[in-house]
Symmetry: C2
Subunit: 326 residues, 2 copies
């Protein structure tokens, strides 16, 4: 399996990207194809004693500036490591692509360079969130701020395919994010989507109030990209908030530190459970080949996990499952 990786995406590129790729090469047996400035990649690897002799490099001059308008990826940005990677994917040089670069450019580039799965109206970002009992795929996490009810149904089908094929969940429970449990709740969008989802080939379990999201009684949470982006960022923000509070509790004096030592195992387990990067990145669902958006602040371990996730998408046949369902 060949995984194409944007070596210049994210805050910690290219070193952490290369490190993560090396871990993946050693542990997953995947072939890595890096895109980006060949000289810098080789220099960085050399300076840090990372053997990249078994990795391929596709040279790209530029780096996409996350402040640039996303659609510039198609013209002025076509020589960036991001665009070159997407092009390589579309040409069949690899089985999947991942980048920690600009989300907007990745969505635009994947849509127009790699193309959507036939019949899919829009690609959607699908992060996987931690819950009390496992993981929840949120879709759309921000690719489409305005959505129609048809799009929401396709999102539900795509996320269900992922949760089944990658996470091994039979009949993933799909919830529609809404302001109440009753089917009379919500905007026109939710009222229409509720009806359509009830008849769609997914295990639709009704409306999902956001307070239920962390409880783990749903496997897929469907919503428009505006609401989904707010929910995603609040999920992250609350996680960080509580992480800081925990630090406060367990630091500052001998008693606090002793206290922490006594429950260290549990603290570590919680930290791991709450760690987004454990799962990988957000999947760009609806594109004809697996594309993963890694978190901008990813470190080597996060890149490794995102590569593992990309491999799982290929191994599980997520795209094929979506093609069948649509």
């Amino acid at each position: 399996m060949n995984i194409i990786v944007d070596a210049f995406g994210g805050d910690n590129a290219p070193l952490e990207v290369i490190k993560g790729c090396k871990i993946a090469e050693e542990n997953l047996g995947t072939n890595i194809i890096l895109t980006g400035d060949e000289e810098i990649i080789k220099k960085t690897a050399g300076e840090n004693d990372i053997d990249i002799s078994r990795m391929d490099i596709i040279h790209a001059d530029g780096v996409f500036d996350i402040h640039d308008k996303p659609t510039t990826i198609l013209k002025s940005g076509k020589n960036t490591s991001l665009a070159v990677g997407l092009k390589a994917l579309s040409e069949g040089k690899g089985n999947a692509f991942l980048s920690a670069g600009s989300t907007g450019a990745l969505v635009a580039g994947a849509t127009f360079i790699v193309k959507r799965i036939k019949g899919i109206k829009r690609a959607a970002l699908a992060p996987v969130l931690p819950t009390e009992k496992g993981r929840l795929m949120l879709i759309d996490g921000g690719a489409n701020i305005d959505c129609t009810s048809d799009m929401l149904v396709q999102f539900a089908i795509m996320a269900s395919a992922y949760m089944e094929k990658v996470k091994g969940i039979k009949k993933p429970r799909v919830g529609l994010i809404n302001v109440g449990a009753e089917d009379t709740k919500g905007r026109e969008l939710e009222l229409e989507a509720y009806k359509l989802l009830s008849e769609a080939p997914v295990n639709f379990c009704g409306n999902l109030e956001a307070r239920e999201m962390p409880k783990g009684n749903f496997d897929v949470a469907v919503t428009d990209g505006f609401t989904g982006n707010v929910a995603l960022k609040l999920y992250e923000g609350m996680g960080a908030f509580i992480g800081n509070k925990m630090k406060d509790i367990f630091s500052g004096g001998i008693k606090s530190k002793l206290s922490a030592l006594m429950v260290l195992g549990k603290i570590k387990a919680l930290r791991k459970q709450m760690d987004y990067t454990e799962e990988g990145g957000a999947v760009l669902m609806g594109v004809s080949k697996p594309v993963i958006k890694a978190h901008g602040s990813s470190d080597a371990k996060a890149f490794y996990n995102a590569i593992r996730q990309a491999k799982a998408c290929v191994d599980g046949g997520v795209i094929e499952a979506i093609e069948k369902s649509i």
Copy 2:
């Protein structure tokens, strides 16, 4: 000061309501006017040794069923403790009203019985959320699922008045909940609201990404009632999720319990900080008299805090401040 309280709103009515009113009477010096079935109120108080001889009771036969359509409060529901309380408020029998009953019915009833402040397009629910540094008023928390940009500007003005008059914050920092920091981000609603807020008589500090909400760098978060309701419920849900995780950490064995004992003070302080009911309930902003929506699961302390909040709205002259700004 006379505070009218719906004795039959919420899961723990009427006992916890009466208890909370008693604490308020003793600690705040407020006169309490209870609405609801007089016989049951007196019986409940008597059985629990609560002296309510100084409280007034306005009899109401019925209790509004939270499953009923909100607007039925105006006709078939007009004899409920909720409707009777709102009517008493509109007739000047009290300075403020609070209920832990149906949110929808409270919004509908307050809008049509107590009426809106002149010039205000829509009443909005404004819960006060805990943050790292203090408190954040979220508006609209769910009263209007579809909003125009004009409404968002009025929400910002009203919440600013509250944070200034009740919380003593000079020039409250207003943020517009959005999917990015740049002024080009968001739906039509956010693009328009951004412009209008920049020219409005509030301290507009730009877009607010949801992950920033818990950090405490904003005092007011403005959004439509759909997004606001999702954010509010996720805030609550994540708080509960983490609360459960903390319990897991500190229970189960002698080491865990010892660990908890060592940091008990900090745990208690965190629990207090994260406790929504410490602040009271959600304020129904835009109505011509202070109306508070207490949490459905409120206990005596929560009712006491909601009464304290109602009193603070009256003392601070929140309504008058809004009238001046509109």
